[in-house]
């Protein structure tokens, strides 16, 4: 998430100073991605340099408020209508761990999977309790507060769906390992006519390795 776009979007609602931007950002995203004040100020400095925001003077306590310039407004408008791209695949420790587990001799992959599944479900239980509380609060809230609750609920639900996706993937990994363990193995010198499964692009290059390395994984 770019801090830059977040601050610009907040400044589109009204001029704000740094600490205010930080607390608004955190209130609306439930504090899930805390910002430090330094990060806010360096970002504001960059935005000012690029002509997207401008300072509109200090208040009595010496706090400088910023507002969007025309270019800043255009940037916010562009952001709302552009899809978020995920060009770089973030390095995910769990994925790396399992990829290594199936290729390293003697690792109990099923146990790795189950340990993770239990932990992820515990995390989901915590998130669900937070969600229940936020829902109750949201239903009782006045309009203004209600909007902030709604933002927090959406963030929580995103984390819940991500956790669920992780569990589904773990289920899939486990099912695939069982299938691999039961797969009849062909001698290394298979005839060309029987190589269909190993050249299946969906299986990728790793699949061939798996059949030899998952043998040791206890069922």
């Amino acid at each position: 998430m770019s801090v830059k776009q977040g601050l610009l979007a907040l400044l589109a609602t009204e001029p704000m100073y740094g600490a205010q931007l930080r607390s608004e950002f955190e209130a609306r995203t439930g504090g899930t991605w805390p910002l430090n004040v330094g990060q806010v100020y360096t970002t504001l400095a960059r935005l000012e340099r690029d002509g997207l925001v401008e300072a509109i003077g200090e208040d009595a306590e010496g706090r400088i408020s910023y507002r969007l310039t025309r270019a800043g407004q255009a940037e916010v408008a562009r952001w709302w209508v552009s899809p978020v791209t995920r060009e770089t695949t973030p390095r995910d420790e769990l994925v790396i761990k399992l990829a290594l587990a199936v290729t390293v001799e003697g690792v109990d992959v099923h146990r790795v999977v189950q340990t993770q599944r239990t932990a992820t479900l515990r995390h989901l239980q915590d998130l669900t309790r937070l969600k229940q509380r936020a829902t109750t609060h949201h239903e009782a809230a006045e309009d203004g507060d209600g909007q902030v609750d709604l933002a927090w609920l959406l963030v929580l639900e995103n984390l819940i769906y991500a956790g669920e996706a992780e569990v589904r993937w773990l289920d899939h990994v486990e099912a695939r390992l069982v299938r691999e363990a039961n797969r009849p193995r062909r001698p290394a010198s298979a005839t060309p006519g029987t190589t269909a499964t190993t050249t299946d692009p969906a299986m990728g290059a790793i699949a061939g390795d798996q059949s030899t390395t998952t043998k040791g994984a206890p069922r």
């Binding site: 189950q114 239990t118 992820t120």
Partner: protein
């Protein structure tokens, strides 16, 4: 705690208890061990979710818990009463009064309207038709489909049928609610509504056992138990409680 304990039960005690339960389907050559030595307790106010791959024994566990199937060995206790010792009539009465089921398919009776489906267990139990009907309407209201009271199942969507089935499971004073994939065919919003109703019923003092494939739904439970090949392999309960609860009382 002894399983033959007859002292008055407190809320801390299990409404449902499985002690070392095994279920073998078929005989000898074709025998399938659907459940192997499972112990589990669900207390008042608690919702427990069961997860596991297809064929791991989830439905078998639920059917045994509700007295729809009999254990090959071990025992099932509902409110301290071992159901294996009950005669057919007594077992049927216990099921009707104390246990609510939501099945993997909805299992509504096609020739009865929604409210008649929900009122049926109460009427079978000898309640006056008018009173049973009133309570059935209350249950339908609780799951948000009161306006469908006079509709027949084939004139309802899958989600609506499922909510009627849940109303039927919750009607009356059932203290044990068993649900097998109750959110199966539902969209995420309707599915969550089902979980909310189940959760509320448990918060109000019922014990719930929920089978689901969806982690998002299992997360509404106080505890998630994982089954594989008929065996409990793990649970999200704290290590201490899990051990205490999973310890057979034999």
């Amino acid at each position: 705690m002894s399983s033959s304990d007859t002292t008055p039960r407190t809320d801390h005690e299990a409404i449902l208890r499985l002690d070392n339960v095994t279920r073998v389907h078929g005989t000898d050559g074709t025998a399938v061990r659907a459940l192997a030595g499972v112990s589990l307790a669900v207390r008042a106010g608690e919702l427990v979710a069961v997860m596991g791959p297809s064929g791991s024994g989830k439905s078998t566990l639920l059917n045994l818990a509700g007295g729809l199937d009999a254990a090959t060995s071990g025992q099932v206790l509902i409110e301290g009463q071992s159901i294996g010792t009950l005669k057919g009539d007594a077992l049927a009465r216990l099921r009707r009064r104390r246990v609510g089921f939501v099945f993997q398919d909805f299992n509504l009776i096609p020739s009865l309207t929604a409210v008649e489906n929900v009122a049926l267990p109460l009427e079978l139990d000898g309640q006056r038709v008018s009173r049973a009907r009133r309570r059935a309407v209350d249950a339908l209201t609780m799951v948000g489909v009161q306006e469908l009271a006079d509709r027949y199942p084939d004139k309802m969507s899958g989600g609506q049928q499922q909510r009627v089935a849940i109303a039927r499971a919750l009607v009356g004073d059932r203290r044990l609610v068993l649900a097998d994939e109750p959110t199966g065919a539902l969209d995420s919003h309707t599915g969550e509504g089902v979980l909310r109703v189940l959760r509320e019923r448990c918060d109000a003092g019922a014990a719930g056992l929920l089978v689901t494939h969806e982690a998002r739904h299992a997360a509404w439970a106080d505890r998630v138990v994982f089954l594989r090949d008929g065996v409990v392999v793990d649970s999200t309960g704290s290590a201490e409680t899990a051990e205490a609860l999973l310890e057979p009382t034999a």
